[in-house]
Amino acid sequence: MTARSGPPILLLRRTFLAGLGGALTGLALGSRVGVAGPALPPAVDEAVKAEAAAEGAGLRPNLFVHVTPNGGVTIACARAEMGQGVRSSLPVLIADELGADMRRVEVVQAPGDPAYGDQNTDGSHSVRGFYDALRKLGACARMMLIAAAAVRWRVPASTCEAHDHAVHHPATGRSLGFGELAIAAAKLPVPQDILLRPRVELLHVGKELPLLDGPDIVTGRAIFGADVRLPGMLTAVIARPPVVGGRATQHDASKTLAVPGVRHVVPLPAPQPPFAFQPLGGVAVVADDTWSALRGRARLEVTWAPGANGDYDSSEYCEVLLAAVSAPGHVVREVGDVVRALGSASKRVEATYHVPHLAHAAMEPPVAVVRFDGQKCEVWAATQNPQAARKEVARALDIAPDQVTVNVTLLGGAFGRKSKPDYVVEAALLAKATGSPVRVQWTREDDIQHDYYHTVSTQRLEAGLDEVGKVVAWRHRTAFPPIGSTFTDTTLSVPGELQQGVLDVPLAIANVRAENCEARAHTRIGWLRSVANIYHAFAVQSFIAEIAHARGSDPRETLLEIIGPPRLVGLEELGVQSLPNYDQPLAEHPIDTGRHRRVIERVTDMARWSDREQRNRALGLAVHRSFLTYVASVVSVIRDPEGRLVVDEVWTSLDAGTLVNRERVRSQFEGAVIFALGHALYGEITMKGGATVQSNFRDYRLMRIGEAPRAIHLDIVDSDGPSGGAGEPGVPPVAPALANAIFALTGQRVRELPIARSLKV
C-alpha cells in the first residue's frame, strides 16, 4: 500500500488495496478521491506537479479513460458515491471492456461538468443509464491499443486481442503491455464504430466485487465533505429561519463577536418562493474553527418573522389531507366503471392510510467548502448533483459556470437530500463575503430542522367484491404535497410521482380508478430514497392484505390473484394515457407480472410461507416494482417477553435484471430493509408553528443495532435482462410486509405510520 504524505492529500492521495481476503479476493481497484486534473491546490509540491504532468501523457480517448505510458489505467467515476457502491461498480464496466488488470486501475472522482453526461446521482439509474455508454468508452480505448499493436506488428487488428492489461497476437505469441502502446495509440484516430466484447468476456461484471473505498474508510483516511482542509479556511455555522420562507428581522451579534475565534457575522438574503435550491437565509457565524462558530451562533440574538408558513401544524394538516381524499380528485387512471361496480358490489372494503413527513438524516450532515478569488471558484462538496451545485454557485456569485469547479467528496450518506445544493450556495456566498475559503458545517439540528422533507401523505382505498369474493372494483385516491411545490407554485402531483405505486400497479380487476387529490405544501418537499413508492406501496400492499382478510383468504393467494396471470401489462390495461416508467420505454422495461409473481413465489418459498402459522410469530408479505426492479419481501414479527413487537427476520427476493456488482446490490437491499423498518416503526417529522419539532436522534429515531432483525435473507433472480435500479427498490415492500405481519400476529391493522404511534415496539 502506498500513500502520499503532505498537504495535498485531498486531491492526489492514492491508495492501493492489498491483501483482500475471503470471497472478495481477486479484484483490487486503486482509489483516488478528489478532482481528476485541473486546479492543483497552492500547497502542491514539485514532485506532485511533475507526476501530474507525466500522467497527462498517454492514451486519453475520452474523459473517462486514461492509459499512461507506465501502464497505469485511470478511470473516472462521474457519479457520486453515497454508499450505494457506484465507485466500486461503474468503473468495472470500462476496465472489463478494456481488458485491464484491476490491480493497476485507479479510480478518480470526476468533477461536476456536463461533459461527463448526467451526474445527478439519484433515481437508482447509474447502472441502467451508463451500462452501455461506459462499455463503449472502455472498448474505444481497447480498440486504439489494439490498433497501435497491429501497426507495430504489421498484422490485421482483427487478429489481435486485449486482456490482462496487454494486447496479444495469439498467432505469433507476441504481446505488448498497455503502457508500451499508450503513446502510439494516442496518435491514432478515435474509432467511431465501437465494437463491444461478447458479454462472457466481461470478467468481473456481475460478480461480487471488493469495496474500492473500504480500506480508506476503516482507517479513517477516506475524505468526506467535512474532511476537506484548505489553507486559511474558516468554518461557518448558520442560524436559519425556523420556518421555511421566514426571515431575520433583526439580529444582535455583539455577544457572538466577543467569542474568541469568531471572525465575521454575515446576514444572508432571505429566499423568494419557489425555494428550489436557494439557501434558507438567516445569519452566518464565520470563525477560525468549528467550536468557535458553534459558540458564536449560540450567543447570537435573532428575531425571526415566520412568514407565510408560520401556522403550519402537521397534525392539523392530516385533517386537510383526509378531507382531500374524501372527495373526488383528478382521475389519472381509469378502467371500466368503478362507481357503478362499487355500488353494486356484494361487499366493500375501505381503508385510509397515512404516512408522515420523514427526514433524510444521512450520517454526515450537509457540508461544503468553497474558495473564491473573485473570478474563479472551487468547491468541495458532499453532493449528489455537482452540475446543479456548479450552476447554482455560478448564479449566486454572478460568474459563468465554467469558472466554477465542483469536486465531489464521499457523501457520508445522502438518500436524496444532497441532490439539493442549497448548502453549497451558502458556502459560496460566505466565501465571497469574507474573502476566505469557507466550510459551511450543518449541525444535526440544522439537518433535521431544515431538510427537504419526504412529503406527508394520505390515501383512501376502496374495493368492491362480488358474491364469491372476487375483487371487481378498485379505487385509489392519493393526496400529498408534491415535490414540484419546491420548484413552482403547484398543488398537483405529477406522473413521475404517480407512476410510483398508483398508475403502474398491475391489477387484474375489471373496474379501476385512481385519483390525484391536490395538496398544498407548507415546507420544502424533496425526494427521499424510493420517494412516492414509500407511501403508495405501504397503502396498496396493506390494502390487498385487508381484502384477503375481508374475504377470509390467504394474503399470498389474494395478492397473486389481484396481480393476475403472467403477462405484460400495457397502457390500455393500466387505464392510463402514458407512463413515465422511470424514463425507460415500456417496450424495453415492460410491466411484467411474471416477474412480480416470480419474486413472490421465491420469497414465500424461502420464508416457508406455508408454515407461517406458528405461535408467537407471524409473517407478512408485500411486493412492489419500482425503478424497474421487482422486489417481494416477507417480514416475520414476534413478541418479546416485555410485550414489544420485534422484527425477527426478513426475506427479500429481487429481480433487478443485469447486475454489475452483485455484492453492492446485496448490501443495498440489506440496508434498504433497515432503512424502511426504521421509518415504519419510528420515523416521523412533525411541525408546529411552521417549525420542525424534532431536532436530533433523540426525537428523530432511527433503527439501532439491537432493533435490527436477527437475519436478512436475500435471493437474487439471475437475469441478463436490462438493468433495473438497486439503491431504492428494496425499500417500498418492507413497511407493508411489516404491517401485514403485525396484523397476522395481533389482529391490529396499522394504517398510520409510524407504528410506534399506536403499538408497543
Binding site: M1, G22, G83, D227, A362, L410, G413, Q441, S667, I705
Partner: protein, 155 residues
Amino acid sequence: MKIHLHVNGKAHALELDPDMPLLWALRDHVGLTGTKYGCGQALCGACVVHLDGEAVRSCVTPVSRADGRAVVTIEGLSPDGSHPLQKAWVELAVPQCGFCQAGQIMTAAALLKKNPQPSEVDIDTSMAGNLCRCGTYLRIRAAIERAVAEKGKGG
C-alpha cells in the same frame, strides 16, 4: 488553556478553550479527520475514540478531560489497517457510505478489549449507541464475530 494531548502516540501541546469538545480539537487542531461529527449530543457514536483505552464520545468530552491522557483515534487503531476488526470490516464489505464506521470500529475495539468473547447480546448492547443510517448492522455483527473468531485462531 494549554492542553497536552497524546494522540495515537504523538504529543500535541495546544492552546484551546478547555470546554471545546475533544472531537473538534482532533478534527480542527490536531488535523485528524477520521473521527466524525454526527450529532454533537452523544446520540450516534460517529465520534467514538479511546481515552486511556475507554470508548468515549468525543463530541461531548471536553478537551480538558483528555489533558495529559492517551487518545487513540481510528487513524491510530493500527499502523496499517491490520486490526482484526479493520480486516473483518473490509473482508465482509461492511461499509456503505462509510461515515459512521470509524465510530463503529472504535466502539467494537473497546468492547473486544474488555470482552474478547462477546455474545450476540453483548455485541448488540455495546454497539447500541452507534447509529448507521445505511443499515449495515447485520454485517457489523458478523464482522465483530469474524474478528473474534480470527483472534481465537491466533490470527
